[in-house]
Each structure stands twice: as C-alpha cells, then as structure tokens.
Amino acid sequence: MPKHVVRLLILLGAGLAVGLIAKWLFTAESFYEFGHYRADSVAEIAAQEPVFQTSAYCQSCHVERHVQWSANNHKTVTCETCHGAAEGHPQKGKLPIPADTRKLCSLCHERMAERPRTQPQIDLAQHGAGQQCATCHNPHAPKLAGVVAKVSGDAAAGRKKHAESCASCHGTNGISPNDTWPNLAGQNAAYLVRILAAYKSGAQTDVMMSPMAQTLGDGDIQNLAAYYAGLSCKAPVSEKAAGDAAAGKALAQNCAACHGETGVATNPAWPQLAGQKAVYLANTLKAFRAGLRKDPMMAGVVRGLSDADIANLAAYYAAQSCEPRPKVRKTS
C-alpha cells in the first residue's frame, strides 16, 4: 500500500477514535437508555414539586368552609382558583382573601355573548350598584334566593294568636302605635317566619321578643306570619323623621338589589322597608352595625354607615309608600 494512503488511513482512524471517545465522554449516562434522549430528564421533570395542592389539602384544616363550599354552587371552583396556589401555606403565611371581588367575580360572571348561556352572568353596570360582590354574596355559597322559608299558616288562627300576644305592642292591625316597634302588617311572611324562628332559637335576641317567641310553637309562627302578610300595610304617616330623606335616597341605591328601590323587597326572604317606622329602622341598622343582630349580608352592608347615614336611610324608607304590594313569589 502506498505510504500516503497508509498515512491517510491512520489519520482517519485517529479522527474516528477521537470522535467516538469524545462522544462517549460527553454523552450523559442515561442517554440512549430509552431512545435518543437523556432518560434521567424524565425523572427530573417528574420530581418537580406541585404548586397547586387541591381542595382536599385545604379541607384538612378548613373543615367547615369545605363543607359549606362543597354543598353549594361554587363547588366546581376550587379553593385555589380564587385564593391562589397553596404551596407553602400555612408555613409561609396566609393565602389572600380577594379584596376586589367585583373584578375577580366578573372574570366569570360578566355578561358576554361569547360565554355559554348556562353560565350565570350579570350586566356589571346594572348589578349591585358598584358594590363589591362579597357584600351581598357569600363566595362559598353564592346563591341568595335559597333561604326563603316555607309558609303554610292559617291566617285566622294567626289573628287569634296576634290578639292574645302581640297586639299590645304591634297594634291591633299590625300597625305599631310606637315608633320604636316595627309595623308587621303587610310584611313578607317568609321573612317573619325566619325572624320569629331566630328569636325562638336564640339566634337573635331581644329583651321583649325573645321571651315572647319562646312561647310560640312552630305552628303559631306559621299562622302569625300568614296573618300579618295578609294585612294592609297602609299606616298613618308618623311624625317627621330625624334624617334627610333625599340624602337617604342616594344611599338606598346600595340596598336596592335586595330591598327594592323604594324598600319594597323583590324576594320574600327579605323584609319590606317601605313605610316602616323610622326609629325602628335606625335602631335595627345600628344593631347590625354593632353586631347585636347577626346577618352576614347586612353586616357587610352597614359596616361603612355613619349615624347620619343611618338616620337618612331610615327617613327615606319611612317616607315611602308600601303599596303596591310586590309580586311575591308563591312559596308552597
């Protein structure tokens, strides 16, 4: 073989050897184990720690919240969808409670033609008068209409019970003679059932009402509610209220979603405010503000109200006509 060809072959062989040794040196251990890639990288990727922990993780501590949430409409929205990923919680600190719920909730509930029709949607401009959603809606149990109490009372029996027990304070026709006690005539029956039951159970307390309600049977409560709901709410206009009704009207925009524009409630679960006694209304609002009366929705609404605001609101609602009676949904 000619010398130059031998040299060339030696050179080529050396080159091949260097190449193969280099490849052997620089190729990771696990390369080619399953194919043309590094098998260790699969294990590395699989070993990364999850950031989202799932609602089951939250359940281990927040048991009551979990029960409430999983029984209501938002059960398909996991804890971490609103509160953020739970990695490092609770060791590293609390998870945020979203402050701007109007922004957060509208991500899913702002009305858009693109969304499926089955999705509950609102017109942001017309709903809730710019208030935060969480003021009225509990994010863990968002539906409001579910609390309508059943009413199946006998008005005649209620009339008898009324004459025996209630008439001395609340008036013969359910129109109270005193400004501090509420008119009951024309009040929503479902609301009356709920509130009387609360006095009876002790969920709500009042020096006068608690002992009265404790003597009532469930049937009495039903009968009374049916009786009062059927009475005419027309009442003589009481003496001039302390507040400014015009200023109250502006504030009442925030209450309209539940209590109606003039205090004629749209849902039987909520009380009529139109034509109610001003002093009673003011006292009740103050009781909510002080936490003496407990209601998650009202607590949020009254938090920012001053004494003057309360007086104005009371004056506004007291001056409204309770007629026409609202079209209250039938409860069977």
């Binding site: 091949l16 050897a17 193969l20 040794i21 490849k23 052997w24 190729t27 990771a28 251990e29 696990s30 390369f31 080619y32 184990e33 399953f34 194919g35 043309h36 890639y37 590094r38 098998a39 990288s41 699969v42 294990a43 590395e44 990727i45 699989a46 070993a47 990364q48 720690e49 999850p50 950031v51 989202f52 799932t54 938002h74 398909t76 929205v77 996991t78 971490e80 969808t81 953020g84 990923a85 991500l107 899913c108 702002e110 009305r111 858009m112 033609a113 693109e114 969304r115 499926p116 999705q119």
Partner: protein
Amino acid sequence: MKKREAIGALRARRLFLRRIGGAAAVASAAAAAGTAGLVGKAAAKSGAAAAEKSFPTPDYDWTKRQWAFGVDATKCIGCLRCVEACKVENEVPLTAHHFRTWVERYVYLEGENRPRVDSHADPVNIAASGSEREYRFANRYQDAKVEKAFFVPKLCNQCEHPPCVQVCPVGATYKAKDGVVLIDHEYCIGCRYCVQACPYGARFFNEEKGVTEKCTWCYHRITKGLQPACVEACPVGARVFGDRNDKQSPISLFIRNNRVQALKPETGNEPNVYYIGIDKAVS
C-alpha cells in the same frame, strides 16, 4: 385518503432508513475495536431498568399509562384561570406573550363570514386586565351584533408523531412512553427549531433560561396522581384529563361519548388533545 397513504409511505421509508442506519452504526462500532463500550453500556442499562423497578419514579410506571386531554369548548367561559394557574404551577414568565396554555376567542359578527379571533395576549385584553401579569378578556363585543361566539382553550397536543421532536438536533425533546412530549432543559441549546416546527404554536422560547418551553400536561403532577393545574383550576369542567388505558377515566368517557375532533389532522401528527364544540375556523 390519498394524503394519509402518502404519509404512511413516507413513514415506512423513514423507518427503513433508520434501520439501515442503525445496522451500519452497529457494524462500524463493532469494527472499531475498543469503542464498543457505548452500545454495550446503553444496552446493559436498559435491560436492568426494565427488570427492576418502575420508571421514572418508584410510584409511577410510564408504560402503564396513556395520557390524553379533552377540551369542551361549549363549556369554556374564557375566565383564563387556567392560564394563570399554569403560569404559577410551571414558573412561566409573567408576561402576556409567554404561555404554555392559552385561550382563543372566536366571534362571528352579523354580516361577516370570518371570525374575529383574539387571545389574552391581544393589546385590548391586556389593557382590560390592567397588567401583563393578570389575564382577562375585555368585553369588547358587548355593543356589537354577535351572531356566534365561543372560547377555545389550547395547549400542547402531545402528538403521536411530534414534528418538534423530529427536528431537535440534540435529543433535548422526546416523547415519553406515557404519551407526553417533554423537554430536557439541561440538553436544550435554545436553537428554536422546535418552536418553528410546531404547527400549533405550542412552544415558546424562554429568554431568561435560554431554553424552549411548552406544556407538559404538568408531568410532575400527573406522575403523582394529580390533575394538571389547568384542569384543577377550571371552574366549569371545560378541560378533561385522564388515562386512555382506563376505560372509565374521564378522558376515555369524554372521547367515547362525544364526537371529538383534533386540530389540523391533515398534518399527520395525530394530536392527543380532543376537542368538542369548535368549528372549522379553529386550527
């Protein structure tokens, strides 16, 4: 049908060439005495791994699963919780233009034949969210006459025949045995061929890390028995995930009970994301 046959023929030819190439490599390696260690090493290791334990983790055997993903566009409300969840879970840069999953909006206005398409990365939608770190669809069609409109969530299709894997020059991306296409960030050289190769735009380049990224169906979650973060975060069940080997898994039921379709079937990639409720403008 012709196209399918052509693709099949191409694939057969590719396989043949690969085998020829493999045989030649083995022959030359054997010929070069002393350099056969490479083949021997790999062969010994794979044999040991298969016999002993499950791979890639002790609790998870990738040969037992065949993952697939379903998207029900009739349920999607465009809230973009999936996009935010994905970013948090996978440390995706918090800008509007880096994302592993995204949602598109298709709106047909009255008198128009083609849909108007936008995603969370559209300037109007960035303005509506107020920040590139938060995502929301602007209510930009509220005063328009909308004839038909819907949202379509998108993500990596984890194709049966992934073109991105085919073009990678360094073996940094590959198809795992359970069906997921993964990226080895140690080996990725950031050449971005794969970004170009993907017909779905599912890959992006992470400038901070100098590597390509894409959806892995949250491989670190699914190998631990969890759902991908986007599926976890979806409030309406528009995203479905599961194992096709399990005939009662959500995805098996989803595929069996619906007339599903895949995106760009004509490419022959055979995507593993199944859609319902989209129309022909979606690709």
